[in-house]
């Protein structure tokens, strides 16, 4: 491995860290949103659902542009950064996390919402008639029954964060060890004609993508069997 620069692993580590943190935040933030979307009877909930789903159709550069404005020194992100003496959240790891959470939100919220909706009212009614408070019913019935949705959401959210490129470039730039993630690194290697390094990273991503898809399909099969 002598010919390879040591910092080929730096973007990999950074990417895994970013994806893990993003997925964790999304599971915490996305679950109540998914629950509300699945259970609420508010007429405007589909509006909220559309906003959550927006990153699916929006070009990453558009999303990245607005995030840049928001996270920059003149936006709320800048004000937030001021709290700990920074000037801006753009071009920082924290900024990347915020961007990734927004970008990957639909991939986590949608499967969890579908899983909650698939449970239906009955198990929760049963729990209520067995003296379970709504909180207890949520933790002991809704969450376990929606487990396939949580698994799918986590895998998809993680994978999408790993593969993100456009937004990272817009709001993170290319700072080694801070914002230079895998996809940007591959682009960089290609730009500088380091094909071997580009190949290793790209090949690794392809293998990773395959494992993700395979996991998803196996999960789906398992879920279908349980449902039968």
């Amino acid at each position: 491995m002598g010919g390879l620069s040591n910092d080929i692993w730096q973007p990999v580590r950074l990417t895994v860290e970013l994806a893990a943190i993003t997925t964790l935040i999304l599971l915490i933030v996305g679950t109540p949103i998914a629950w509300w979307l699945a259970r609420s009877k508010a007429w405007w909930k589909e509006g909220v659902a559309a906003v959550v789903a927006l990153p699916l159709v929006l070009p990453p550069t558009v999303l990245g542009f607005y995030l840049l404005v928001l996270l920059g020194p003149d936006g709320p992100g800048g004000a937030l950064a001021n709290l700990w003496g920074g000037r801006t959240l753009a071009f920082s790891f924290e900024g990347l996390v915020i961007g990734s959470v927004i970008y990957s939100m639909p991939f986590v919220v949608q499967p969890i919402r579908n899983a909650f909706a698939a449970i239906g009212d009955r198990p929760l009614e049963v729990a209520a008639t067995l003296r379970a408070s709504p909180t207890r019913a949520f933790w002991t019935v809704a969450i376990p029954l929606a487990r396939p949705g949580f698994l799918a959401g986590a895998v998809l959210g993680f994978a999408h964060t790993v593969g993100e490129f456009g937004i990272v470039l817009m709001i993170g730039g290319n700072i080694p060890g801070k914002t230079k993630v895998l996809s940007v690194a591959i682009f960089d290697y290609v730009e500088t004609s380091q094909w071997r390094e580009a190949n290793i990273l790209a090949g690794g991503m392809a293998a990773f993508a395959f494992v993700v898809i395979l996991t998803m399909m196996l999960l789906e099969k398992r879920t279908a069997r349980i449902g039968a």
Binding site: R122, P123, E125, V126, A127, A128, T129, L130, R131, A132, S133, P134, A137, T140, V141, P144, L145, I226
Partner: protein, 383 residues
Amino acid sequence: MRAISPRSIRGEFRGQLGGFALDASFSVPATGITGLFGPSGCGKSTVLRCLAGLQRLPGSFCEVDGEVWQDTQLFRRPFERPIGYVFQEASLFPHFSVRANLEYGAPRGSRSAPGAIAFDEVMELLGLERLLARSPQNLSGGERQRVAIGRALLSQPKLLLMDEPLSALDRLTKDEILPFLERLHDRLALPVIYVSHDMTEIERLADHLILMQAGRVLAAGPLHDLQSDPALPLAVARDAAVNFDATVESHDPTYGLLTLRIDGGQLLVPAPPLAIGERRRVRIAAGDVSLARQAPQGTSILNALAARIVAKSPIGRSEILVVLGLGPQGEGARLLARVTRRSWDHLQLAEGLDIFAQVKGVALAPERGASSDQGYAAAKTAG
């Protein structure tokens, strides 16, 4: 302000549900099994959901055994009501074992609470012991429903609500579960509201009845009273019958006949011997009763009971439903007879007349807890 009435279940549920108007008011004793009966879509399940708090109709009122669960200011949510609820589908938690399902609603550390329904008793009553380690996916439909009933009982309810618990099951499975329900009735002092559109289930289980039609309560009261009220649809139905409790008086081993005492008379029924004093439910169909002006002689019919005609109601053009009061003054239990209008005129029958009711068939409920494929029909006689 309403007066609190202990030992009763009172509901006044009204409201618009989609295109359906519900306006159901009733008061029944908080003892025994109360059947909630009516055609499909008449609102019986909605009434049950209102009692459980699963459905909230503003402006309604609900009081159970002296505790108000809903009025204009108050609404207890389902988990705040001491109920057990058995749904049409067993609805077991698929991610729990049978044991975990059973224990889900059981209050912690109350196993020895006085009057509590014991785990072992429920296991024995419903035959659940050998299912405990299984997963709900590996149970038959009947087993699942038994677990669901056990789960509801172990939550230590003060009122058990059952929403057509047998209607999703096939005939054989139904007959497997009915004896369990009858045992429940005999052994536990737990009031039950039992929704059904199947009169045979009601006749076997219910002590009281709430009769519903198109979102309204037609009548509520003891089963026997409603069955014999000629103004209600039950008495004039094709399969009209009355049920009453009978006490075993004696057994004649020579002919294999039981003598049963009912209110206002005696019945002879061919049946295996039973303990003196044992109580059984009997059913007599209106079509199995004929009338005679004099005490019948030279007949193979075993049972001819002195009775008085207390009411009548025409059925179509050619038949008449006759309500009889057993006993010389007609003060005993009510019996239904269906006769032709021609016979009515020929015999010069009239209300207030003393006559004899010849009973061609008496159906004796099967032994409580014993499984029987035919249910009532098993003991149906032709004598």
